[in-house]
Amino acid sequence: MSGELLRAEGIGKRFGGFVALEGITVSFEAGQLTSIIGPNGAGKSTFFNILSGALSPSSGTLHFKGCELNGLPQHRFVHRGISRSYQITNIFPDLTVHENVRVAAQALSVRYDVWRNRARLAELGARADTALHAVGLLDRRGELAKFLAHGQQRALEIAIALVSEPELLLLDEPTAGMGPEETKDMVALLERLADRRTILLVEHKMKMVLGLSRRILVLHHGRLLADGAPDEIRSNPEVRRVYLGQSEGYG
């Protein structure tokens, strides 16, 4: 579609003596869904945390739309257009569903205003409802988030990330802990979202990833093992070797 959105160059991360990531160089085009897969401990989450600013890399540089991101505090990443969801449900449990999303929308415009009435910022409320509609939660908007079912909380999580209209949406295992029904709903949601957005997905479920993604990256022991279209990945001998005997687990 359009040009390069995000480029990672030689990204590495060490925790003390432990090398979690090494020499990841990869660039992402706008407008497609890319998945990152790999066995447990492959460095997916670390890479993801670096891309979203939660961790800073030990080496290498990140460029987003041509601007370097290194050294930027995490909360600024959203303002640049990178938004994320979490692997474990990470919402505001004692706020309503609507307020969960509304407060996320507010983060881009009004942060330190102690004077105006927030109810008057109608545009933010409308945007929150649009995001809730996109994930199919509009009818639950008045409930406290902690009372939602697990799958709905995951959808809420995505709405929170979505409402900032990110240019790059990072989703960390959106189907983690879901039953088959909920997973189906989530896949449908992801397919809808992928139509118009640039999404980077970390996922465990191989079959789901193969169906959804235009491009797949495989991480193994902190290194980039393979990078290509789903068909190439499927037939890549090294990937098969890494996943050998685990195929059931990733069905």
Binding site: S52, H75, V78, F92, T96, V103, A107, R111, D113, L121
Partner: protein, 332 residues
């Protein structure tokens, strides 16, 4: 039967409205404060409830709404009182200028303590705020030429207050109560405004999930600093009221026992509820009054009751009441 259920509904709506968003909770709270001298056994008690209610309300912004357990609120309460007294007694300022400068100075103090303490989280934050507030205590103890040291600050008395050309005899207890109530009303209105504001949503988000708030794009540290300052300024206003009321400032006001008392009051009343701080202040002070009638060792009972609250009634009197009466608290 119908009368009864009507009355129940009426009670519910009154209770609910006291906590509801919007101006009605401010107006209702003020109405209760207007009636307070007649609701409580003594006017002396009423004025103390008023003052401590404001102090605790400021603290509630920090602890109840943002989830930051500070043990140093006495620093701002005391700073407000001391600066008011010094400004009037030493520099001969009129009372309103003294109050204004006290709030400004206390807010600056809150900024300084806040910059250091909001760099820490969780239990660290409680310990650091306690230690820094003790620092303020020892500074006040040492700077005795300014503060009167151990004897407390004396030598300033406000006996009359002119308000819009009206001369009010401030020595009359009821006049004093209603003048001070104007401060309380202003604080209630300001607090309600903050809670309704976009920033009010930010602090709630931080309380609910700090990590997520950061990922949403909020500068959590800076937001904490701002709420720390707002909270300090409201509690400082309570300090100003105390100085005007007592005409002395005891050194103990800065001690961490006072911070602890503020924490106890907010918990007795119910953290995170709008009118809870006044209920908590009243509960604590009534408890103190009643128990000290038959023993000077009231603190042992207050401590024990507080322990029971932590164990069995963590939402406090008001918070539990709001929850038990099934009022749908409107949230957006």
């Amino acid at each position: 039967m119908t009368a009864q259920s009507n009355r129940a509904a009426a009670t519910k709506s009154v209770f609910g409205a006291l906590d509801r968003f919007g101006d009605q909770r401010v107006l209702l709270s003020i109405a209760i404060l207007i009636a307070l001298p007649w609701l409580l056994p003594s006017q002396a008690l009423a004025v103390n409830v008023l003052i401590y209610g404001v102090v605790v309300m400021g603290y509630n912004l920090l602890f109840g709404y943002t989830g930051l357990l500070s043990f140093g609120q006495a620093a701002f309460f005391g700073c407000g009182a001391y600066v008011t007294g010094i400004a009037i007694g030493r520099y001969g300022m009129p009372w309103f200028a003294a109050v204004a400068s006290a709030v400004v100075v206390s807010t600056i103090l809150a900024a300084v303590i806040g910059v250091i303490s909001t760099r820490t989280r969780g239990i660290y934050f409680s310990m650091v705020t306690l230690a820094l507030a003790q620092l303020v205590y020892y500074v006040a103890l040492q700077a005795s030429s300014f503060t009167g040291g151990e004897n407390g600050l004396r030598g300033f008395t406000v006996d009359r207050i002119s308000l819009f050309g009206l001369q009010i005899n401030f020595l009359d207890p009821l006049n004093k109560y209603y003048v001070l109530m104007v401060f309380a009303a202003a604080a209630l209105w300001f607090q309600s405004r903050i809670l309704n504001s976009p920033f009010g949503a930010v602090i709630e988000a931080i309380r609910e999930n700090e990590q997520r708030a950061r990922a949403c794009g909020y500068d959590v540290e800076r937001s904490k600093l701002l709420v720390f300052m707002l909270s300090g300024s409201i509690s400082a206003l309570g300090g100003c009221m105390l100085a005007l009321h007592l005409s002395i400032v005891p050194l103990d006001i800065l001690h961490y026992q006072t911070s602890g008392m503020i924490v106890m009051m907010v918990l007795l009343g119910g953290a995170r509820s709008f009118f809870g701080p006044f209920v908590g202040a009243a509960a604590f002070l009534i408890l103190e009054d009643v128990i000290s009638l038959w023993t000077p060792h009231w603190q042992i009972f207050v401590g024990a009751i507080f322990i029971l609250f932590v164990l069995f009634l963590p939402k406090g009197i008001w918070g539990t009441l709001l929850e038990t009466l099934p009022i749908a608290r409107p949230r957006r």
